[in-house]
């Protein structure tokens, strides 16, 4: 399944190279230059807004969520003072209405792989109070990610992907930043700080912009989708993945609900290649209703 996005990236990067070459060399082939500029500067969204549909959804949790652990930040007072309440390591954050936060939702199948999307703004992964903000990052292939250290302490940013190349960069000073990106779709890429063993984050990289991370109300929305039938996947670091089939109507919205419960808890071993637990629950997951607008 990685083959097609990979090819797409290849095409994108070749086009990007063409742009760079075209702009750099004044004596370049005029035709190529024009084509390149057109691709980069004014890339149209490939989905017609008039017929596009959308998905709005909710991820809910039933049962007793896994309890968090207290984080002992006594050795890093500069981080401890950022927190108004004692910092907790919370693998499961459940909102008042039962919404499950930090769920990465994305289209895993069904999208035309030849679609080219305009470049998106850089996403940010911050280190603040010896925690990653946000805890889960949604990223498209090739999209820039700015990694920032807002703490006056040493952090190292250690990524352990399998489809992309992992790196491990230190940021010993407050305000340090670097930019990176991932060329290949991968759900999920664990990020850890070895200096502060409790710090963990996950980056979900898809070959398209149809991804979202739920907030504490468990809600998410995917906009401007080509009408069609897709597989929608919801990933949570502790409760694994749930998929369901979704039909996106023309010019309409489909409401979707994902349910996670306590029986799905796996061993919370973050930052391991074996971390993904797959739950074959298509039957239970339900598309609530589709409304024609």
């Amino acid at each position: 399944m990685f083959k097609l996005p990979y090819l797409r990236n290849l095409v994108t990067s070749s086009l990007a190279t063409a742009v760079v070459m075209g702009c750099g060399g004044g004596d370049g082939d005029g035709g190529a230059e024009d084509a390149g500029e057109a691709t980069a500067a004014v890339m149209e969204h490939p989905v017609d807004a008039a017929t596009a549909g959308s998905i709005t959804g909710l991820v809910i949790f039933t049962g007793t969520p896994s309890e968090g652990d207290m984080i002992d930040m006594s050795e890093e007072p500069a981080c401890a003072e950022v927190h108004a309440t004692p910092p907790m390591r919370m693998p499961a954050v459940v909102g008042a209405d039962g919404g499950l936060a930090n769920v990465f939702v994305h289209l895993s199948e069904g999208l035309d792989p030849s679609l080219q999307f305009p470049a998106e703004e850089a996403a940010v992964l911050d280190q603040l109070g010896c925690e990653y903000v946000p805890h889960v990052v949604a990223l498209s292939t090739g999209q820039q990610l700015t990694v920032r250290n807002s703490d006056p302490v040493l952090h190292n940013v250690n990524t352990t992907p399998t489809e992309n190349r992992g790196f491990n960069r230190s940021q010993p000073q407050v305000g340090m930043e670097f930019q990176t990106s991932f060329p290949t779709a991968e759900v999920m890429i664990p990020v850890r700080c070895d200096v502060h063993g409790w710090m963990e984050s996950y980056i979900g990289v898809t070959a398209h912009p149809y991804h979202a991370v739920t907030g504490e109300d468990g809600s998410f929305a995917l906009e401007r989708l080509p009408p069609g039938t897709y597989t929608l996947e919801a990933w949570h670091e502790l409760y694994g993945t749930v998929t369901q089939s979704v039909v996106v109507p023309e010019s309409g919205d489909v409401e979707v609900m994902f349910e996670f419960d306590e029986s799905m808890a796996g061993r919370h071993v973050p930052l391991r290649p074996t971390l993904i637990i797959s739950h074959e629950r298509d039957g239970r997951a339900t598309a609530v209703r589709a409304t024609q607008q």
Binding site: D194, V195, R272
Partner: protein, 533 residues
């Protein structure tokens, strides 16, 4: 003309086809040679599939490299980059010090090693595409001075190297207990006072390179961003490398058979921190995991100790020091989980393990119970019934040492209190234990204690346990036998004899010359008288 071209095209096409075929053939041959070498010499640890999980892997920490991830610790390229062929070749040639990976430069031919590099790369798709990785520019090491060392020490504080490596560099930082490698196995922060064990080499150039590239797959990150963000200069990073280098001895230590206890007739040092120890020669004693009797232990934390010895003709004092990141059991619960993770990780899980959270650190100095008349010594794992071992056994739990007699590993029986003539004082500071043992050379307990005569090679061996590394009972680190030699006072005759010999020889020589001269004079006188007559 046209006909010529028409003919030439297929001929050229054929020629280029055959060139491609030939090079593909050569590639296949190289991969096939690489596979032969790999399957024979490498697969035992790295696995036939290259995933780092061969039959021997589970007894190793750190685990063998997983080639399918194409992630290599020792590189000249940036973090996240592939290594160059030369990088891979370098590690094959010299091995990975401090791990089970030996160097192969002398064991395999250049062709075999080159083929091996090609074969290792074939385990990962990452090598299939993309440009050839380019090494970073490192420049050459500026010379070291007191100023660079001071600057390096400042930077060590500022960029928080101590978080993992500790204030004195012994791998005892506050983050050391929670380190994992990328595969989830517990990871030891490097002991920066033992550069001969550094992954990637212990020279200042190697240290600088690791600061720039990181050790991918481990918690050690790159610090190149500091230079790229203009926070430190390249020279400052070199200063840090010089400082780290200065934490280890100038030369890698050599193993000596005989540990000499120097005679010191002034008062013997009574504490491990006595300044006089600095002028006593340290002897390096390597230790290895106890893998002879079950339950075995393949991941010892104490891989060498240092021994210094003095005596005053009455007592002997032995100072044993070694790197240990904690005073086991540590008050930091992370170390208890670290030990548990090491125990869970290590195979084989022989029956009879006695480790439990809270286990202390221990050190045993082992002697034969009686001096052997010939070369036969007790079994090096605390003797047996026929030849028992006599032990000085120290534990961090009670911070005292006791005399014991053992007939095999972990069978030691403590001698009764009235027969205890051994004392010990210990300190733990910045990741180092220093234990000072003291005992009279001769004891009243002649039957049970080894008596320590002067100028005699006394067999001696050592065993160490790190409780916070999951070690207890028979699961420890052991040394082979060495000798302890108590230096003898030089008797006065040693100095007098040469003088006497010189005086006697001179007197004799003078006598001979005088006699010869007298004879000559007498003969001349006689001749004169004869001539006159």
């Amino acid at each position: 003309m046209t006909r010529t071209i028409l003919l030439a095209v297929p001929v050229l096409a054929l020629a280029s086809l055959s060139t491609t075929a030939a090079s593909a053939d050569a590639q296949d041959q190289e991969l096939s040679l690489g596979k032969d070498v790999y399957d024979r010499w490498c697969a035992g640890c790295h696995g036939v599939d290259g995933a780092g999980a061969g039959p021997g892997a589970a007894t190793m920490l750190p685990r063998p490299r997983d080639f399918t991830r194409a992630q290599y610790q020792v590189r000249t390229t940036g973090t996240g980059e592939l290594p160059t062929d030369a990088d891979i070749m370098h590690v094959i040639d010299v091995g990975m010090p401090g791990t089970a990976m030996p160097g192969w430069e002398d064991a395999l031919s250049r062709d075999e090693r080159e083929a091996l590099v090609a074969y290792l790369k074939s385990f990962s798709r990452f090598f299939e595409s993309g440009p050839e990785p380019t090494p970073l520019e490192f420049g050459s090491a500026p010379s070291s001075s007191e100023a660079t060392i001071t600057e390096g020490a400042r930077l060590y504080q500022e960029i928080e190297c101590w978080q993992c490596h500790g204030q004195a560099g012994r791998g005892d930082g506050s983050a050391a207990a929670t380190l994992d490698d990328d595969l989830g196995f517990p990871n030891y922060a490097a002991d920066l006072t033992r550069n001969w064990l550094f992954n990637g080499g212990g020279a200042v150039e190697d240290i600088y390179r690791v600061l720039r590239t990181g050790l991918d797959g481990t918690p050690m990150p790159t610090f190149s961003d500091l230079i790229e963000s203009d926070i430190v200069t390249d020279d400052q990073l070199w200063s840090l490398a010089h400082y780290v280098r200065s934490l280890s001895p100038a030369r890698a230590p050599a193993v000596r058979e005989v540990i000499t206890a120097t005679l010191d007739e002034s008062e013997l040092p009574s504490t491990p921190d006595d300044e006089r120890w600095a002028s006593v020669q340290p002897f390096y004693v390597p230790l290895a995991g106890q893998v002879i009797v079950k339950p075995r232990w393949f991941s010892p934390r104490v891989t060498n100790i240092w021994v210094r010895a003095l005596h005053d003709g009455e007592d002997v004092v032995l100072l044993v020091s070694w790197t240990d990141p904690t005073q086991s059991p540590s008050s930091d619960p992370d170390w208890a989980s670290f030990a548990q993770r090491v125990v869970d990780t290590m195979e084989p899980k022989d029956e009879g393990s006695t480790w439990e959270p809270g286990a202390p650190d221990r050190l045993v100095v082992q002697f034969p119970q009686t001096l052997p008349s010939g070369l036969e010594r007790p079994h090096f794992l605390q003797g047996d019934a026929r030849r028992p071992a006599y032990l000085w056994s120290w534990s961090s739990e009670e911070d005292r040492a006791v005399e014991m007699v053992a007939e095999g590993l972990a069978t030691g029986q403590q001698q009764p209190d009235e027969n205890q003539q051994l004392s010990a004082v210990s300190t733990w500071s910045e990741g180092e234990w220093r234990v000072l043992f003291r005992r009279p050379l001769m004891t009243p307990d002649i039957a049970a204690d080894l008596q320590l005569p002067l100028a005699t090679a006394v067999p001696i061996a050592f065993q160490a346990w790190d409780g916070d590394n999951g070690e207890a009972g028979k699961q420890n680190a052991v040394s082979t036998w060495y000798f302890l030699a108590l230096e003898e006072a030089t008797p006065a005759t040693v100095f007098m004899a040469p003088v006497a010999a010189f005086v006697l020889t001179a007197a004799f020589g003078l006598g001979v010359v005088a006699r010869a001269q007298r004879r000559y004079t007498e003969a001349e006188e006689r001749a004169g008288q004869a001539g006159g007559a």
